[in-house]
Symmetry: C2
Subunit: 226 residues, 2 copies
């Protein structure tokens, strides 16, 4: 079933990682894949461009279907393989509402994390400003506290959208995993760190852990001074 | 059915507008709503903050369910009112794939449009750089050509994900509508402009047209020099 699937991915990219977690949860192991190096700009290759004009990863193909946006790929996999593996979107629209809300809110956390941790990567030298970076840091701390509050309110041992693991966790975990890795001070988000500990050994997550994180378990300290 | 719905919104905001189009398409007219002025910072009011800690619009409530992310609200409405009005997400996962892909790709077009049209709004004086704005413009032109190419490939009279109006159109139309309004040169995106003409009088879109666009049909020329 997974043999006619092909995933182009980069190690550590949250959008790639979430598609890989979804594939694992839906028991679609055995899909074909190609790991591309961001450092060597391999994701800009012709093979990817032919399927994804933005030349980004993930680039995902199932038979003739191409779905490159990570959230689109996740929703597609859930819909096409509903009865396989873990049900990631509940049936009840009331429960769905919170799953969708947290899934799409993740983009706020991801972007704000990027705007601090990868500021020098995204902003060319000569355009970098202390005032902008300071504002980005404040914005990230506020965002982190919001997510920490969600978990605090849900109670100990909760997932992001309740008592079950859902697509909200698939989508958000790869972003949350950056905070301990990049030395974010624990006091900004103690509940998120407990959540991280609870999930990091889940089989789907462990099986898809970024290979360069396995090689170098200690990440750079870009979030140390948050 | 719509009486226990409440939408806080701002005129012209693409995220608000798409939720309003979805409500119209699902025949949920009669929902309660409150128009808030961005200029007066009314979306930062306590009433919104109580439901949406980011103090943004849309803020949407249906009974006890709060869904503030616009795409989450759209998916929730489709799921909770599947058999009402227009079916916006097809049943077939193969067809869903393209609808989801275009829905989530819209964020690229929206962000790149904001990064040019609202550069001065988002970047404080003293941090603005010609080099950054120039890069943003180039990036927007590339993105526009991509979307124009999608429509070119689908053929005349097509919607964004095929022969039917879907959630992809609900999500993307409010962003596309900014290009003619802000005087984007037609040659960057002739197919998108045909698409705009085809959709602008659709009842759901007409009924939810931004009130300040009705008052002043001619917008400022922020995209004239793209």
């Amino acid at each position: 079933m997974a043999q006619n699937m092909m995933l182009y991915w980069g190690s550590g990219s949250p959008p790639c990682w979430r598609v890989m977690i979804a594939l694992e949860e839906k028991m679609l192991q055995g899909y074909k894949h190609k790991l591309l190096s961001f450092e060597k700009n391999e994701h800009k290759c012709e093979e990817v461009k032919a399927l994804n004009p933005r030349a980004q990863v993930p680039t995902f193909k199932h038979g003739d279907i191409v779905v490159n946006e990570s959230l689109a790929a996740c929703l597609y996999l859930e819909s096409a393989f509903k009865s396989h593996g873990t049900r990631l979107i509940p049936d009840d629209p009331t429960e769905q509402a919170l799953v969708y809300q947290r899934m799409f809110e993740t983009n706020n956390l991801q972007q704000k994390m990027y705007d601090v941790a990868f500021y020098e990567y995204y902003v060319p030298e000569g355009e970098r400003l202390e005032s902008a970076l300071k504002r980005n840091k404040e914005s990230l701390v506020t965002e982190l506290k919001l997510w920490d509050g969600y978990l605090e309110k849900m109670g100990k041992g909760s997932y992001l959208a309740g008592k079950s693991f859902t697509m909200a966790d698939v989508v958000c975990f790869p972003v949350i995993a950056y905070f301990p890795r990049l030395h974010c001070p624990r006091e900004h988000c103690p509940r998120l760190m407990e959540y991280y500990e609870m999930l990091k050994d889940r089989p789907s997550i462990k099986a898809s852990w970024p290979p360069h994180w396995l090689e170098k378990p200690e990440g750079p300290d870009m979030l140390k001074n948050l």
